[in-house]
Symmetry: C3
Subunit: 476 residues, 3 copies
């Protein structure tokens, strides 16, 4: 049985495969020219190891691989399932997330490699497990941006968004890390603030005045909310690995994990409190629980490796849960109404704002750092550049500005490209619906309800007049 209302969607049968093929072939050629194994993953390791007087265990693989796998889960299951909350866009959420990430990590290995891992002896990028983690981080920025435009763009647009997003990210990261020598272990600024403002700016340029026509699809059903909790929990649980993955060996990774663990725990309590306080009879709202509980992990990112102290982490988490939840209640509607920014997943409250806050927390913590607290050697180990603490704090603040400027500027630029009418995006009334890019089993609900509706009309039953097809449709 086919859907009764014939649907005419966009045709991406040529453009989408063409882009996939061209870009993948380009990746193969560029990897062929540029990418090789680094000494720790090359078969010459036994000789290298002897030269450096390492044991096998001191291969960076054993320091970072468990964290890498956790980050990998966050990128693919975490971000993917977090966005499955829409009643009829779960395929798009998890499927396009998969596509963006798989393409983005290849391009990120190249872009980040040119900036950070180029061996000037032979002009090759030498990769190891840390590059894989950084590539995952880099696509995280694009996946955050996807959250703002979820359900409103075509897969071709998403690939373009990713290509430019990764490029911008790599430049921004180079400026922040290698030029300004700012520290950003968990990427509050580099990943979250950048990705958040990048997505919001794109969404602003792609504003759809008649998006209300898809309003009935822009919501969740019971089980789609449970699926989204899979994403939330894997993000929440593995965030300590995210923030500690590329920290210094030893105490750096250890402390970053503890700080993140504590900040996230604290955020949960304030999120639940605010969510309950703002609803009649104190009911909780799944949107807040799915998203705001994660804000503490974002905001503690920059300072994760610093001596933030356990109570400092709790304080950061406390305020982030509060601000993020209030953001969902007040700021997202405000953004849509007054600033014409339609933010499907509310990334402003989960990534942009907490990311910016994280930058500020990082700047303050860095400015307040002292050798008394860190020890002479610890201080040099963490702030690996010769500056006094307040100056470092200033550079941290400058880094945050760079991230936001790149996010907004890049977003507007890419948004304008995506506005061209060649990308096969859906009409305003067909947003948030998998039907247009996925083969889906026909949707039985409308059929069944329509059938009952006809029965009712035929029999002219007064007591069923209040049965409304459209409303029913929206609830299933």
């Amino acid at each position: 049985m086919r859907r009764c209302v014939q649907t005419f969607g966009p045709n991406i049968r040529l453009s989408f495969p063409a882009v996939c093929f061209v870009w993948q072939i380009a990746m193969i050629i560029l990897f062929g020219v540029f990418v090789r194994y680094n000494p720790e993953s090359d078969a010459h390791w036994p000789e290298y190891r002897r030269m450096k007087n390492f044991t096998d265990l001191e291969n960076d693989f054993y320091f970072r691989y468990p964290s890498f796998q956790d980050v990998h889960v966050m990128i693919f299951v975490g971000f993917g399932f977090l966005m499955t909350f829409l009643k009829r866009y779960s395929f798009g959420a998890v499927g396009f997330n998969f596509l963006i990430a798989a393409f983005g990590i290849q391009w990120a290995l190249l872009m980040q490699g040119w900036f950070h891992s180029l061996d000037y002896n032979d002009g090759k990028i030498k990769i190891g497990v840390e590059n894989l983690i950084n590539a995952d981080f880099c696509v995280a920025g694009c996946l955050i941006a996807y959250g703002a435009v979820l359900g409103k763009v075509s897969p071709v647009q998403l690939l373009v968004l990713t290509l430019f997003g990764v490029t911008l990210f790599a430049v921004e990261e180079f400026i922040i890390i290698s030029v300004l020598h700012a520290k950003d272990a968990g990427g509050s600024m580099v990943i979250h603030a950048f990705g958040g403002y990048y997505g919001l700016s794109i969404s602003w340029v792609l504003y759809r005045p008649n998006l209300g026509k898809s309003k009935h699809m822009n919501g969740s059903v019971y089980h789609s909310d449970v699926f989204a909790m899979i994403g939330t929990l894997f993000l929440w649980m593995f965030w300590p690995s995210f923030n500690s993955a590329i920290c210094n060996h030893g105490d750096g990774q250890h402390r970053a994990a503890i700080n993140t663990y504590l900040s996230l725990a604290s955020t949960v309590l304030t999120t639940y409190a605010i969510s309950s306080l703002w609803e009649k009879t104190g009911k909780l709202d799944m949107v807040h629980i799915q998203n705001s509980t994660l804000a503490g992990g974002v905001a503690v990112g920059t300072a994760a490796e610093f001596m933030l102290m356990p109570y400092g982490s709790l304080i950061v988490g406390f305020f982030c849960g509060l601000i993020s939840t209030l953001g969902y209640i007040y700021f997202t509607p405000f953004l849509e109404k007054h600033l014409k920014i339609q933010d499907t997943c509310g990334i402003h409250n989960l990534h942009a704002l907490p990311g910016a806050l994280g930058g500020v927390v990082g700047a303050i913590t860095a400015a307040a750092a002292s050798t008394t607290v860190y020890g002479e050697e610890g201080f040099r180990g963490i702030f690996d550049f010769n500056r006094v603490a307040p100056v470092q704090g200033g550079y941290q603040a400058a880094a945050l500005c760079v991230a936001i400027v790149f996010g907004i500027g890049g977003g507007i630029f890419v948004g304008c490209i995506l506005k061209l009418p060649i990308w096969g995006d859906v009409a305003d009334e067909n947003c948030f619906d998998d039907e247009f890019y996925w083969e889906v089993s026909p949707y039985i609900w409308p059929v069944l309800c329509r059938h009952i509706w006809h029965l009712s009309i035929k029999n002219d039953l007064n007591n069923v007049k209040n049965f409304n097809y459209n409303e029913t449709n929206t609830e299933l």
Copy 2:
């Protein structure tokens, strides 16, 4: 379209946020006064490391962090999703599990810290990754207790249950580990027996004679059972990490993982066998598969680090699967009918009884230990106290009694507190329904079915007389 039957639920709009805020602020203050990093997570690590002649890799982080992350997944996804099996309480299952755990780990870090990690030089608790694991273990006890009262209590009650549960746990653990010097690597006694009897006692005090009014909600639907399998499998897969997480470095962790792996594999076979044997035509029951397959992990906990031998682990798992499944078939109905204990998730069969069995297995294995089997050094390494083996066995048995006494006594005490009519719990007819604490999309099924029902009456169609609204409702 709104639900036809108006529902008047409890109002927790003030009490719940107030408790969250007050407790979180208390945590921040107490952490500020008491909690600091331990030498392995402090920035002075480079100096400490040189003093101890350690490499970076010998930071405890690299021994325990992968296991910690596995345990973390068990606590949040494992326990959370295991309880999503109810057709209309999945938000409560995974959401309140999240809340309890996030609050509990903070309080556990303090309580366990005072008992075990207090630095008497400066009066501070010094935390590292092992404390995080222990905090996760500690909330596991409370989450087990939640299983018994699932769907019948308010979130405020759950926070109270957790506050007292963690407190009792810390005292009980101190007596068992530090006073009696009993061994309990996987917490069969400390976590599972305690948590199980704590929850059952609370459920006994909170007995609801008219719970039958919610009978139609106390069951699963097809997809909620699949969600629950996510919880089951993550618990099952990561149980080797749970039992080995805080074992001795080297062979201790290695052996605990092997023993648990084998015990769990064995349990699966007997669970399937018994489940099939007790049903007409040999059909399997999802309740057994979701729960009893895990009993082997519980029962091997205490003895996991001992030289239980691979076949010993298989034997423990064999009997646990058998007893636990029979428990679901015979004992849970018996408990409800004759002892007035309503045990929603059957924690008696998954945690309380296998935990007690685990304590007995541990006592026997400890009593039978010899330096022939363990080696002189191995024996001293595992039983770090100067006792002959049979005496150690006796202390192990005493530890089990302490766990059960704390569980039952504490549960009755906390149950009485939770019986006060101030906590905003739902009426008997509204149990097992997310509607009262969560914003949920209206439930279309009853509406649709009721509509058809009216159609039928109106047309007086004899051939649809057997269409029954109430029964239908229960099946969706």
Copy 3:
């Protein structure tokens, strides 16, 4: 309300529990006679460690346990959930997967132990974490075979399939690894080609000419496809751990993870491209996304540890995504129509063919190996047998033939056993339905639709004549 159509399923109430019990007791006895801890998991480790001059960290546990846990997740959640895509066979998918794996790992520890870990001094098998990984690998072969017969066999048949499958696997693996001295780190040949052809041959012997009667159950619904994506993503994310789990310490594990990561990323792009290119208006098909995206991990298995080079991995992934997706489009229907092989999950395209391809890639890469690329020491470390490279390539090709011969031969043999009419499998019209082996809540959809159908007849409403019970049934 009971299902209207009475169903008479097979009765496995005696045979199934009997097999479970007998086999589990046999396992306990055989483990009692044969299995002990190896020196790294035995309590004598402190003495062994001193003798070998190891630190605790050099216990193999710390090299392999994180990878082991990832593999474990792939086996239980990955394979289990990947098969939940059928609308009404999710219990069977995840539940029987669980059963097969839990039984199989025990038998695999014995079979593989006799071949590889037997201590000739005392006739005992000495197990450690590497044995656990290998046992998980071994059952992977049987789980792949399960994919071909999903929904068409009884649990008793599955246990028989597993018993023989593990036995054949262990022999085949012994020939390939220990006799031919071929290398197969990720098991492209040993696991995937063998498992794939084993399952296809069984399915060929068990051909059901009237399977069309269950056609309405052989498809997905919206949420079952989302559940399947959980399986897909956990397989995809953890495949680098799968291929690197038993590689050489140091650069071997490191390089295998990088190669797999890259190959999988590349596969995703071509899978999406082909899936879109072959559908009207470029829509994507969930079947391809769920399965073909994984083919790159299979095909890079044999060569994962070799110096395949990053671009080499991308090329392998590129062609695998392409071939696998085209396989789903053209080859699966061809197999069913012309070769009488009914392959429920399309394992031919995901495992058999990519596995064979992986063997070929491995043979070519091995034949092209040189000490210039690997270094003298690296070359000896990886190809631990004294052969020149082209000869090694020949042995690799021979190994692939062994795997395929064992798969096909073993499959036909086991298929004939499973064809005996004693195993309690369902009739052709009852395939792909959990109803016959699981207690399931009655299926409301047919009831409701039938009800409406009767209403329509009664009222003889012309405008609802097109409402068709059978079609509706298939869509829910």
